[in-house]
Amino acid sequence: MSALSALVKEKNKTGSNRGVNDFSITVATVNGSGSQTSNLTILRAIFKMGIPVSGKNLFPSNIQGQPTWYTIRVSKDGFLARREEQEIVVAMNPATFLRDLQGVLPGGAFYYADDIRYPIDRQDIVTYPMPVKQITKDSGAPSNLRDYVANMVYVGVLSQLLGIDLEKVHQALSFHFKGKTKPIELNYGVIQAAFEWSSANLVKHDPYRVEEMDATNDYVMADGNTAAALGSIYGGVQFVSWYPITPASSLAESLNEYLPLLRKDPEEPGKNTFAVVQAEDELAAIGMAVGAGWSGLRAMTSTSGPGLSLMTEYAGLAYFAEVPLVIWDVARVGPSTGLPTRTAQGDLTFIYYMGHGDTQQIILLPGSVHECFEFGWQAFDIAERMQMPVFVLSDLDLGMNNWMIPPFEYPDTPIDRGKTIWEDDLEELHGKWGRYKDIDGDGIPYRTVPGNRHVDAAYFARGTGHSPEAQYSEDPQVWHDNLERLKLKYHTSRQYMPKPAIESMPDAKFGIIAFGSTETAIEEARHQMAEENIPTDFMRLRAIPFTDEVEAFIQDHQCIYVVELNRDGQLTQILRAEFPDYASRFVPIAYTDGLSLTAQRVREMILAEME
């Protein structure tokens, strides 16, 4: 059980009334209609009421007019993964109305805009028609803005029928509109009007409601892309090059937002200690980052699958020429355009081997928004220490959805610039220096960067074969030795990798291995299985290459289910390749459909395999 769910269990004294603080809401709207603001407002208001909550946006690759859904999970027990079923559905989109109607669990509630005139053929649910147009009009909203605020009607009606505190709703709006009175009051006016209309006209017949708790006081709400940007800023990022791509764009945009705020130069006031360049494509984005990393800057780029494909050649060169840089992959569903607005863990093997020839790349695997921040700064230390690209593999679910997380923590280790030497160091070495010489026996050479004025500092970086002194070489022995040194270097990197997170239960029947955003679903599934007398151990990997703890966990378990959000069991493939002696222990539990994983799916797939 996570710290969060344990905490919630402890704090939850509100009893186990069915329907209180334990249900899911799905809101079906048309994209481009302002529904994101409405949904975030509900999510944030519930969060401010102290109730554990999560929100997931299922949106189309489109700007306006296509169906979009938003699911909110309220869970007093702190389980925040998506669920397969929903107790409450809000139907605002005629195009998906009938399908949305069928999605309500028996006994659930169906809220709908009353101008959508389809027969409602279900007797097992409670229905609440909402005169959306009338309420919007009556709220006094100017006619040209009504379309944009109409979705606030369901915020008001839900607030009234679920018991969401209007004061918290106001706080949420205030945050969203950054304190700007006009939009806050315009939207709040609609919410109030809908709330009042609901009090006067609707009678509650379903059991679902919220009650104030105090389980979220120690949390903040943020998305992974913002966290990644902030973490990078604390990691001292100096150069960012990027190209727009869903779902990674908001990472670079957050850098643009927060860098000026947080990186005021203490020595030369008013100056920027960073530069952000929007490149012409991903080929250039990574090229610039490689150039900057080579010249001694903490450099990064952020992208998603298609961009990653274009970055491959430079990633291979950076590995071979030993250039530090950080590459964020906020994964979406591929191959090709795939499902650009849906989530997956489909890039793992691609990154692992990224580059032609023999390459092995370092990959950090954040499992939470909190870790997006942490790995945001750690990635630079590892990249510069190892003189290698470091990939950070996030995904759309982490990157773009809002999650409740413990507050960000200041880095607990000083900045590590690795083995970079300057004029004084070279003076001491009396010119006895070779860019690719392994002095310390760890495979990591010493490096200089452009601008170093020492007469022995310069070297010529290249993708062609090179000697320890960085001279061009086609000598078979030189090639062989260099590639072996790179392998040793990769091995050395294990000691700098974040260790896996391991959670054990007494008498565990088997182990589960996973990485990334699937953690919440797996935690919940483990909880359910434990209640069915199937206790489990769980190791969430946080980096590749694997640390010693990973092997120990594998040794300790005869049967290990490897849960991942892809078709082919990519992590299983890597584990089998890395631990061939234990290859038969790994059972892939791999599934992908564009949506985030649910506990139900995890549990059912594992149980099916067990039979």
Binding site: P266, K271, A275, A279, G287, W294, G296, P407
Partner: protein, 349 residues
């Protein structure tokens, strides 16, 4: 320039940087004997020496191809990075943010720039990165043994390749259209002009494109080929006679009123363009494009400084960077102080 004793007691010529010409050398060239690229490398060495450039203040970049090997043949004391095919511009863009006091010299070829690298070429122009961008243009892929490049003329017949069907790309024209702030065309067979143009380019505060016809003696040097020595010699028409005058040096070049144009560069140096057969104003982009069209029509190799605009800021000047080089900033200047983390958490919901 002055004389100094070297360690073996010989008298050697040194420049104002206290360096001999040998200090600007590179490794021995492995390109073909007579390759235009070798001549250009020699002129880079001569220009840097004569300009008293400190080699540690230069960074060399290249893509892939014969041209892209050449940074290895000059300025051994400068950092260099031989990157990917067509992607030298992005590499240089990132690298030159590391320390904005550095000068970039990028060497590319017609394949590297006009085919695979056209996108990055165009975008480095609009960003006006302070760098000399030399295209060693020979109309042919040398390292892969003689295929047509995108600058080869229609009708060019090459051994085992047949006859070229497609229209050529004019790199200088592309540079002008792309709003490059310094565009020149030259000819490896005219080393004096090449050298003066390199000096001017090194003084330019922005992207300086030198499209240098640099014959490939192995694969494309038939007398009738437009990238050959013979054709160049017969058809070159220089727009002007160039003389570079370093900063704080008195202009000694003699010319009559109205017989030359003087362009003052960002660093106080000057380029004197002495009139030859025609009046030519290199600050007029339209005129530059017109003269390229005319040269194309008349089958002339027009050389010289086609266009210059010294008023535009270079890329890194747009970023409000500190005096201290970014790559020398201490950790406390790149990690926000501890107390800010509280603010950050308060900014979240």
């Amino acid at each position: 320039m002055s004389e100094q004793m070297n360690i073996t007691g010989q008298r050697v010529q040194v420049n104002l940087a206290g360096l001999t010409k040998a200090d600007y050398k590179g490794n021995p060239s492995t390109l073909c004997q007579g390759c235009g690229h070798n001549s250009i490398a020699s002129q880079i060495i001569a220009a840097a020496y004569e300009m008293d450039v400190v080699p540690e203040r230069v960074v060399k970049f290249s893509g892939i191809g014969c041209s892209s090997k050449s940074p290895f043949y000059f300025l051994n004391r400068s950092f260099g990075f031989n990157g990917l095919h067509g992607r030298m511009p992005s590499l240089a863009t990132g690298a030159l943010f590391g320390d904005t006091n550095l000068r970039g010299i990028g060497v590319s070829g017609d394949g590297d720039t006009a085919s695979i690298g056209m996108g990055q070429f165009k975008h480095i122009l609009r960003r006006n990165l302070r760098m000399v961008y030399i295209v060693e243009n020979n109309g042919v892929y040398g390292l892969t043994k003689g295929q047509f490049s995108a600058t080869a003329e229609v009708g060019l017949t090459l051994k085992s390749q047949g006859t070229n069907r497609y229209m050529p790309i004019d790199i200088a024209w592309e540079a002008l259209v792309g709003r490059a702030t310094f565009v020149a065309r030259s000819f490896a067979g005219d080393p004096k002009q090449v050298k003066e143009l390199i000096k001017a380019a090194l003084s330019h505060n922005g992207i300086a494109v030198l499209d240098i016809i640099s014959p490939c003696v192995t694969f494309n040097n038939q007398d009738t080929a437009m990238h050959s020595y013979q054709w160049g010699k017969e058809h070159e028409e220089a727009l002007h006679e160039l003389a570079f005058v370093p900063p704080a040096e008195e202009i000694m070049v003699e010319y009559e009123q109205g017989e030359a144009i003087e362009v003052t560069m960002h660093d106080g140096s000057a380029v004197i363009l002495k009139k030859l057969d025609r009046d030519y104003d290199p600050t007029d982009r339209t005129e530059a494009m017109r003269i390229l069209e005319e040269a194309n029509r008349d089958q002339l190799l027009i050389t010289g400084l086609l266009y210059i605009d010294t008023s535009q800021p270079s890329l890194t000047e747009l970023y409000n960077l500190p005096e201290t080089a970014l790559n020398r900033l201490s950790p406390d200047r790149i990690r926000p102080p501890r107390e800010t983390i509280k603010q950050v958490n308060e900014l979240m919901f």
